[in-house]
Subunit: 462 residues, 2 copies
């Protein structure tokens, strides 16, 4: 991996638009741009300035452009960076990139600009990953979490703790040098306190992953119930409220369509299912089985029932069939328009208990008349996001970070357990392992494979 | 149409990319941007400078961005312009645009930035139209023609001639004021010379339209011939040579697929057709009829025949059936691999005349063995583009310009014809009409309808 090369790529999306931005980064970025630019001498201009001129290939003018200059180290990559803003024709963009390559640049690989920003110390690794998350963010919550991570909240916290642990590690290393003299340079009580402190942070970060992942990926939510419970009407009632931010995502299986519903900035991926009933033939059994599979892959189950016709026995039976320890279940009593308008009496008129145990929330709605739909949305939100989000949380959203944190935790538990029993060299080994995994998150410890794996998932031009 | 409002739109294509550019233009562009920007005070910065900071909605940070400033009149629209370069997430882009609208900007209409550039005198109308052509350009020739028009070559020429005509018009107006005294302020011989000169330019511009349009839209080219003449093999041979710049365009009819072949920077839209033979039944007749329709809509017809088997009579019959005055026809003798390798003898060995009259070029190829395919390409190019393109031509590519030029020509012919016979007031009227139509091209004469019609075809953000 050498930074001596100057890389080039389109930084804006493919497609026709008013403008396209071609980005160059590397030691020769400015001289290469200057060699095809007719206008001011770019090599003599200040950083953070913009210049109008044309890109020419010999005598042929390719386009009239604006060129933005960022002189190292005052750029995203900390290298010389040039951004060429040209007319947004795919033909023109391709011609200019080809010309720049002819003049000595090479095509950037996926994520290579951000990789350089990391290698040059502009961003740590978790910040670099946050850039990709930010670009992919599609809701207020996912954008805030990514931005929070980009701004370093996450890794600063870990870095401080890691630095303290490094001190202990070196003190214990010192003990190894004086092993025969049986001295303790590292105060075991202080070390214990520090490790407990680190573990509290790590445990809280680990437990934040469920929420962080829900925010980043959206919450998989299945709507299930008996036939004619009003599932589709309910889905429509939920979606019609915020039609503007609803989008259609083709399902991964042929027979389901996912709809995305945004509640308080969190995306819920609603999956409608076929009605559940006792299968009378083989084909219907397959349908029910599919529904059960969808449910088992979801984080939240909205069970809808017809409050006007279901019996207490049927309801209890369904709940017993559907409930799983890993899935939050929300009961929705639909068709309350068919019942006594007195809310209190809803369940009594249909002979139902008001709640099915205390494990489940029950929301009463009329999907048809769009009654209590807003309340239902808030119930859906709170069923998934148990605690209120303040927006300042440090949340783990990245499975790589989760795994590193879990491994750190394991190593630290070993340190704690062995502190009074094992020798300094074992202690030192476990602390080093914890340091290693913590370092992987921020990139203090990296391997080529790790970097390759992370940055290959970026888009070209970032 | 007021320019007091500040407009905002995404200037880069929709979709996910490394960055997105949001553009503001109008008197409040900088103050609105400053009201949501955390960083330097943007209102105190110089034009053509770039500033790092974050976009914040109250306490909530939406993104970290780079802001480029263009202070009026040093901008594309000659108004204050701000370009915000943010992370390329659709969610972030939408959030920032919404925030800017909340702070006083409004959504830009299609082409509104360029409309303002025109209204503020930055571009004339034909230059503004060239911006859209440039964005849509998809070949070297179409990009060069659009760029040439953007750079004003076209309209400067017309403007000079129009200015001279205006002088004559005012002299003739003066004659009207002194009508009773029978004086001639406008020298009729000079007027005649000027009009002839203008008409020469206009006639040449009108006749450039065919080529200009071919360059802009591509040349519709039909490949026709008897069954088994080797049409598909020829199509593949033509396309395989430059696979990289070949693209698939779904046909407008169900049964044809167009392929685009680029020769010397010109796009040829190749349309393969069913084999032509005397139809024996009704369904086959429909197929032949479709082929004939495709041919009648094309500019260039490549007629392919099997040189090893066709008879002179069949060939002459096909040519007679297919030739149309408006379509250039190119004969391709295929399968020369089956003939005597002596090129000179190709046609004699199969008993054919060497040329079918002098109207048609005949190219001899072997599609199967890919022999003479490059020569055929050059023949295709020259059959369509009769004269060599130097790259500096002033070409009319816009049907609106063509119509205005034709109307100008008609009015000028009336001036010439009436010069010695009609009174000054009629002469004046015809000159004014010519001026009107000339003015429509550059935008010296505009109506709201005309502008609406032109700019509504632009994309949003341009």
């Amino acid at each position: 991996m050498t930074n001596n090369e100057t890389i080039v790529a389109l930084a804006t999306p493919n497609g026709t638009g008013a403008i396209g931005i071609i980005r160059l980064s590397g030691p020769e970025a400015i001289t290469i741009a200057n060699s095809v630019f007719k206008g001011k001498d770019l090599t003599k201009q200040a950083s953070h300035t913009i210049h109008f001129g044309s890109i020419t290939d010999g005598e042929v003018i390719l386009d009239e452009v604006l060129v933005s200059l960022f002189v190292a180290p005052r750029s995203y990559t900390r290298e010389n960076v040039v951004e060429i803003s040209c007319h947004g024709s795919a033909y023109i963009i391709e011609s200019i990139i080809k010309l720049l390559i002819k003049k000595g640049a090479r095509s950037a690989k996926a994520g290579e600009f951000t990789l350089r920003a990391f290698l040059n110390g502009q961003l740590d690794l978790s910040q670099a990953e946050a850039v990709a998350d930010l670009i992919a963010s599609n809701s207020k919550a996912s954008q805030q979490v990514a931005l929070n991570q980009l701004r370093g909240g996450f890794s600063t916290q870990l870095q401080t703790l890691r630095d303290q642990l490094v001190q202990f590690a070196s003190l214990i290393e010192l003990e190894l040098d004086f092993a025969e003299e049986d001295v303790e340079f590292a105060n075991r009580d202080q070390l214990k306190t520090l490790i407990l402190q680190i573990n509290r942070v790590i445990t809280s970060l680990i437990s934040s992953f469920e929420l962080g992942n829900a925010i980043k990926q959206g919450v998989n939510t299945v709507i299930a119930g008996r036939p004619n419970a009003g599932k589709s009407t309910l889905l429509n009632a939920l979606l019609n409220e915020e039609r503007a931010i609803v989008s259609h995502i083709p399902g991964t299986t042929r027979d389901t369509i996912e709809e995305v519903l945004n509640i308080n900035g969190i995306n819920f991926r609603l999956i409608d299912t076929a009605g559940i009933r006792e299968a009378t033939d083989a084909i219907e059994q397959i349908g029910v089985q599919r529904t059960m599979e969808k449910i088992s892959q979801s984080a939240l189950l909205i069970y809808v029932f017809d409050a006007a016709s279901i019996t207490a026995e049927e309801l209890e039976q369904d709940v017993a069939n559907l409930k799983k320890p890993s899935i939050t279940m929300l009961l929705v009593a639909n068709k309350i328009d068919l019942l006594n308008p007195d809310d209190e009496a809803v369940f009594r008129t249909s002979g139902l208990p008001i709640t099915i145990g205390t494990d489940f929330r029950t929301t009463k709605v009329s999907a048809k008349e769009k009654r209590h739909i807003d309340e239902l949305k808030q119930d859906i939100y709170h069923a998934a996001i148990k605690d209120q989000l303040t927006g300042d949380e440090t949340l783990v959203t990245n499975i790589r970070h989760l795994e590193a944190l879990q491994k750190t935790e394991e190593a630290l538990v070993r340190v704690l357990n062995g502190m009074d029993t094992v020798t300094s060299d074992f202690l030192s080994m476990d602390i080093k392992q914890a340091l290693h995994y913590l370092g992987e998150i921020t990139g203090a410890v990296t391997t080529d494979d790790l970097l390759e794996n992370i940055f290959s998932k970026f888009c070209i031009g970032k």
